[in-house]
C-alpha cells in the first residue's frame, strides 16, 4: 500500500443496518493519522445510536491503513465489547491484516482502577500533608543534630578536618563571589539611598540618607543581601554537587566504606561558609555604602560630609550584631544546600530540584532567623 499524502481526503463511511441487531460500517479510502479522526467520531456515534449486538467493519475498500487506523478498529472493538456486543473486521488486504494482527485489544484496554483512590477528601489530604510535614521536620532535626555533633568533633580534632576541601570551598564560596557581591550591594545601596532621598528632600533632611543607609546596611541589608546572593550561588552549588554524587552512587560508596558523609562532605563546607560569609558581608557593606556615596554626590554633598555622617550614625554594636547573624546564615546556606543534595531523588530533574529546594528553603530560613534576631536585639536594646 502506498502512503497517502497528508492532504488526501478523508475516507468515506457508509453505515448499513443489516438487521435489527447488526450494523455494518463500510469504509473506503485511506486510514491514517491525518484522516481517521472524523470517521472515528462518526462511527462511535453510530454505535451509540444503534447499539448493535454485532458490529462488522467492511475494510475491503480501505487502500491504506497505519497504526491510527488499527487504533480505530481496536477502539471500536473495545467499545463494542463493553456494550456486550461482538465485533469483526473483514475484507482487509493481507498487508493491512498483518498490521492488525500485531495488536491485541485485550492488552490495550485501559486498566481497571476502580480500587484506586481517585480523589481524597480534604481531611485525608490534610492528614497526608501533616504527616509529610512532620517527616520533613524530623529529617531536618536529625540532620541538624548530625552536623552539630560532627562540628563539635571537628573542633576537638582539627587534624581530622579535610582542610584541602575547606580551602577549595573558601575559594569558590568567597573569593569567586566578590564581584557579584560588590555589584549587587552597590546597586542596592544606590537604590535605597536614592529612594530615601526623594521623600527626605521635602523636609530638607537629605543629609540623613547617609545615616539611614549605614544603619540599614550594617544591621540588616548587608548581611541579608550578601547571604541571599551567596545562597543562590553557593547553596545551590552544594546541593548540585551532593545531588550528583547521590545519583552517581558516590554517597552509597561512602556509606559502604563506613564513612559518614556529614563529616566528610558537609563539615568542610560549613566551616568554609562560616569563615567566608562575615568577610563577604563586610565587603558587601562597603560597596553598599559606595552606592550611597554616588547618590550623595548627585545631591551635592561632599565625601567628607558623607563620611562624617556615617561615623556619627554607625556604631560597632551595629556592625557586630549584623556580622553575628551571618554566622547563622552561613550554617543555613551550607547545611540546607548539603541536605537538599543528599536527599536528591533519581532521575534527570533530581539535581535541579535539589538546587531549587536549597535556595528556596535557605531564603525562608534566613528570613525567619533574621526575624528572631530582630526581636532579640530589640529586647537587648542593640
Amino acid at each position: 500500500m502506498t502512503k497517502p499524502h497528508s492532504t488526501t481526503s478523508p475516507p468515506s463511511l457508509q453505515t448499513i443496518t443489516e438487521d435489527n441487531s447488526t450494523l455494518k460500517l463500510k469504509i473506503k479510502g485511506a486510514l491514517n493519522t491525518y484522516t481517521t479522526s472524523k470517521i472515528w467520531t462518526d462511527s462511535l456515534t453510530a454505535i451509540k445510536t444503534s447499539k448493535p449486538s454485532q458490529l462488522i467493519v467492511d475494510g475491503s475498500e480501505i487502500d491504506y491503513c497505519d497504526t491510527a487506523g488499527i487504533a480505530f478498529f481496536t477502539n471500536l472493538q473495545i467499545r463494542q465489547e463493553q456494550l456486550g456486543g461482538n465485533f469483526k473486521v473483514e475484507g482487509l488486504s493481507d498487508e493491512i491484516n498483518k498490521l492488525y494482527k500485531l495488536f491485541n485489544a485485550e492488552q490495550l484496554k485501559e486498566p481497571d482502577d476502580s480500587d484506586s483512590i481517585h480523589s481524597e477528601n480534604k481531611i485525608e489530604a490534610a492528614g497526608r500533608w501533616g504527616y509529610q510535614a512532620w517527616e520533613e521536620i524530623q529529617v531536618n532535626i536529625i540532620f541538624t543534630g548530625r552536623v552539630t555533633v560532627a562540628l563539635i568533633k571537628a573542633m576537638l580534632r582539627p587534624d581530622k578536618i579535610r582542610w584541602k576541601d575547606v580551602l577549595i570551598t573558601c575559594e569558590k564560596f568567597g573569593a569567586n563571589a566578590l564581584f557579584i557581591i560588590a555589584l549587587v550591594n552597590f546597586l542596592v545601596g544606590l537604590v535605597i539611598a536614592f529612594q530615601s532621598a526623594v521623600p527626605m528632600k521635602q523636609y530638607g533632611a537629605q543629609i540623613f540618607v547617609a545615616d539611614l543607609l549605614v544603619i540599614a546596611y550594617f544591621k540588616e541589608l548587608g548581611p541579608l543581601m550578601t547571604a541571599f546572593v551567596v545562597n543562590g550561588r553557593s547553596g545551590s552549588a552544594f546541593a548540585a554537587e551532593l545531588g550528583t554524587m547521590k545519583v552517581n552512587e558516590e554517597l552509597d560508596a561512602l556509606d559502604t566504606m563506613g564513612l559518614d558523609p556529614v563529616p566528610f562532605l558537609v563539615v568542610p563546607k560549613v566551616i568554609a561558609s562560616v569563615l567566608m560569609l562575615p568577610l563577604l558581608t563586610v565587603f558587601g557593606n562597603l560597596f553598599g555604602l559606595l552606592g550611597g556615596l554616588v547618590v550623595m554626590f548627585s545631591l551635592g554633598f561632599t565625601l567628607e560630609t558623607y563620611l562624617n555622617q556615617l561615623t556619627i550614625a554607625a556604631t560597632y554594636g551595629m556592625l557586630i550584631s549584623g556580622l553575628f547573624k551571618t554566622l547563622f546564615f552561613a550554617v543555613i546556606i551550607a547545611g540546607v544546600g548539603c541536605l537538599a543534595g543528599m536527599r536528591a531523588a533519581k532521575g534527570p530533574s533530581a539535581v535541579g530540584d535539589a538546587a531549587t529546594r536549597a535556595v528556596v528553603v535557605g531564603i525562608v530560613l534566613m528570613i525567619v532567623v533574621d526575624g528572631i534576631f530582630g526581636v532579640i536585639y530589640y529586647i537587648l536594646g542593640i
Partner: protein, 254 residues
C-alpha cells in the same frame, strides 16, 4: 567442608509494600566466585545492596563472616564493612579526587600507615588492575573499562575478604569485558578473595562463575542454583533454559 563466608537466611527485601525478594536463603563459600543472575527487574541489585548493608531487609539475616550486617550499627557495622569491598556499576569514583586518591581514601581512614606507605599500597592496587600510569588522572579522564578497574582497585584497598561487584561488564565492549573477566579470575586466584558478582552477561557468567543463583521476578525467589554450564545443559525449568540459551518462548519451542 568448604567454609561458608556469607550466610543469607530467609531474606525478604521490599520497598514499602512492594516485595522484591521473598524469603530466600543461600550461602557463599570462601574463595568462590559466586554470581547472582536473572532477568531485568528480578532483584539482583536489590539483593546485592542488602548484602552490603545499604538497605535493611524486611525480614531475615545476612551473616558476613558470622556477623549480621542487616542488624549491625555504629562501630560494629564499620568493622564488617572494612572486610568487604564494593565496586559499583557506575564506578562511583569521587570526581574531586584523582584515581590514586580514590584508592588511598579507605587506607587513610582506617589505618595508621604513613602517607608514603598508603601511597605505595594504592599504587600497587592500581598496578594489580593494570592502571599503572593513570594514578594522577581524574575519573572524568578515564574510559569505561578504566573506571571499572579503578573502582575494583579502590574496593580492594583494605584487602577485604569479600569483593562485591555490581554489573562489572555493564556498558563495556566485548573485548574490554573479557579483559575484566580475566582480571577477576586472576585476582581470585592470586588473592584468594571471595567474589560476589551481580550480572546478566552470559559470557562473563561462563568465564567467571564457580556457582550461580538465578533470581526470578515472578516467584521473587531463587529459581536455580549451581554450575552455569550444568544449568544451561540440564535444567528443565523453561525460564532458566531461556536465560542461558538467550532464547524467546518461540525459539525454545522449536
Amino acid at each position: 567442608m568448604d567454609k561458608k563466608i556469607i550466610n543469607v537466611k530467609e531474606l525478604t527485601a521490599a520497598y514499602g509494600d512492594n516485595v522484591i525478594i521473598d524469603n530466600i536463603s543461600f550461602d557463599v563459600v570462601k574463595g568462590e566466585k559466586f554470581v547472582i543472575l536473572g532477568g531485568s527487574g528480578c532483584g539482583k541489585s536489590t539483593l546485592l545492596k542488602h548484602m552490603i548493608g545499604l538497605y535493611r531487609p524486611a525480614h531475615g539475616s545476612i551473616l558476613i563472616e558470622g556477623d549480621n550486617i542487616a542488624k549491625a550499627e555504629g562501630q560494629d557495622r564499620i568493622e564488617i564493612l572494612k572486610n568487604i569491598g564494593v565496586a559499583y556499576q557506575s564506578g562511583a569514583l569521587f570526581g574531586s579526587m584523582t584515581v590514586l586518591e580514590n584508592v588511598m581514601l579507605p587506607l587513610e581512614q582506617y589505618t595508621n600507615l604513613s602517607k608514603e606507605s598508603i601511597d605505595l599500597i594504592a599504587r600497587m592496587k592500581l598496578n594489580l588492575v593494570g592502571l599503572t600510569g593513570s594514578e594522577e588522572k581524574s575519573p572524568s579522564e578515564l574510559s569505561g573499562g578504566m573506571i571499572k578497574r579503578a573502582a575494583l582497585a579502590r574496593a580492594m584497598a583494605l584487602d577485604p575478604d569479600i569483593l562485591f561487584l555490581d554489573e562489572p561488564s555493564a556498558g563495556l565492549d566485548p573485548i574490554t569485558s573479557a579483559e575484566l573477566d580475566q582480571l577477576i579470575n586472576q585476582l581470585a586466584k592470586s588473592l584468594g578473595v571471595t567474589f560476589v558478582i551481580v550480572t546478566h552477561e552470559l559470557n562473563s557468567i561462563y568465564n567467571i562463575a564457580d556457582r550461580v543463583i538465578m533470581l526470578d521476578k515472578d516467584t521473587k525467589g531463587i529459581i536455580a542454583t549451581g554450575d552455569p554450564e550444568y544449568l544451561r545443559d540440564n535444567s528443565e525449568i523453561p525460564i532458566v533454559q531461556k536465560f542461558f540459551k538467550r532464547q524467546t518462548d518461540d525459539q525454545l519451542d522449536r
